[in-house]
Symmetry: none
Subunit: 227 residues, 2 copies
DNA sequence: CGATTTTGTGACCGTCTTGTGACCACATCG
DNA sequence: CGATGTGGTCACAAGACGGTCACAAAATCG
């Protein structure tokens, strides 16, 4: 799945592309509107990540032109929280938007959600990692050739966070924040939740491909079983 | 089918009209309340897309005046958090509303739904999904080779919403909003309505092709029976 | 007007989810 | 050595949730 990233901020573009690549996208870059359209026509990406402030051609214009030619999903990036531009962008046919600053996880989640909604699931669109899939529509966890496993709201949020940052250790506080929000729960609750999630995704009989690893004193990480 | 788009934001109006044109509407534009009414009388559009914030004449006033003269369907545009205006508009006779930001697909879907409900459908047609049909004229639900089932207003709106988004989970709040409008009912009412709708569309003796699935903690979805 | 249908409200029940405390094994450190 | 903190497991209770029912209020219709 090709993703075209259009941003004149070189550093930000770099970060975005790095994040998307790690999530399995094949990333193309453009730093202004004109080359964005050129690359769009040349490479036919499956999704476009589009900054609104651009030199040589405004983001909204790029959005419109792309939309006249195809219905490729577009995710907009905008600084201002004046949702004026956002409204225009969405009206022009953009499918979603993210206001800066944003977390890489956010971007990936939105991009995949948009692809899912558009029905263009090259990879089922959902959140995948080494063969397993998280289905946000039904809050299920799916392994190939296995019936889906229903997750509760909290279990789903935890799993989602771990998958978005797979093979990365997330601190206890970070996880609590993602799952329960600020002023959330305490360590004991997270411990409990991890236990419950493990029992659903790491049954002893199957050769589970992923598992939740505890890093003492730090937090947890979703790892892939080696070989 | 003529559609009159009333919005003082030139860019947004442009975009909305572009979207509607692509969906097959013949679009007229007005950027303030007075000209909106002029064009309305001159051209007799089949539907009006009306922004609530307008110069020279408030959107609510325009809505009221149109409604005193005819029953042309009206879809209002409003910024989020102005529930008050939305309520007033609906009370004044508007047929539906969309809060910004919205997606073009939403707008078209709503406009067509409103037209369908109003019985004036030169465009698409009844709402069908895997063989079953929703007939907006008679508020009936039809299965092949079965007598039509009469639905109440609320049951119909719920079914319509579920069918427009079939095989997608809709949150409880979304459903409440679509069925009862803003400041609508509570979860208990939706629960009750789902129960009543189920008894009509999922009788035990027939091999029902669709069913309403509850996703705990999230909402409901209209699903098709296994493969 | 009365009769019927539709809609809203409350209650009950079984189930699932979530929060809490307890216990154990293990490691670290004074 | 024991005190302390860690993560893993379990049991239990409070609460939320969905499904069902009965009944009253409100709307509709003849």
């Amino acid at each position: 799945m090709k993703a075209l990233v259009v941003d004149d901020d070189l550093v930000l573009a770099d970060v975005v592309s790095f994040t998307l690549r790690r999530a399995g996208f094949d990333v193309l870059l453009a730093h202004d509107g004109v080359t964005a359209l050129e690359r769009f026509y040349a490479e036919s990406p499956g999704i476009v990540i589009l900054d609104l402030q651009l030199p040589s051609k405004d983001g909204l214009e790029v959005c419109r032109e792309i939309r006249t030619k195809s219905d490729t999903p577009i995710v907009m990036l905008s600084v201002r929280d004046s949702d004026d531009d956002v409204v225009k962008g969405l009206a022009l046919g953009a499918d979603d938007y993210i206001t800066k600053p944003f977390s890489p996880a956010q971007l990936v989640a939105r991009a995949q959600a948009v692809l899912r909604r558009a029905g263009k699931n090259p990879l089922p669109g959902k959140l995948t990692f080494v063969g397993i899939t998280l289905n946000p529509d039904r809050h299920t966890f799916e392994r190939p050739d296995e019936p889906p496993i229903q997750l509760t709201q909290l279990e789903f949020k935890l799993m989602e966070t771990l998958m978005l940052n797979h093979e990365q250790v997330l601190s206890v506080n970070t996880l609590i924040d993602r799952v329960w929000g600020p002023n959330g729960a305490d360590r004991a609750m997270l411990k409990q939740l991890v236990y419950r999630l493990r029992r659903k995704i790491e049954p002893e009989d199957t050769d589970n491909t992923v598992y939740i690893e505890a890093v003492p004193g730090i937090g947890y990480a979703l790892m892939r079983r080696n070989q």
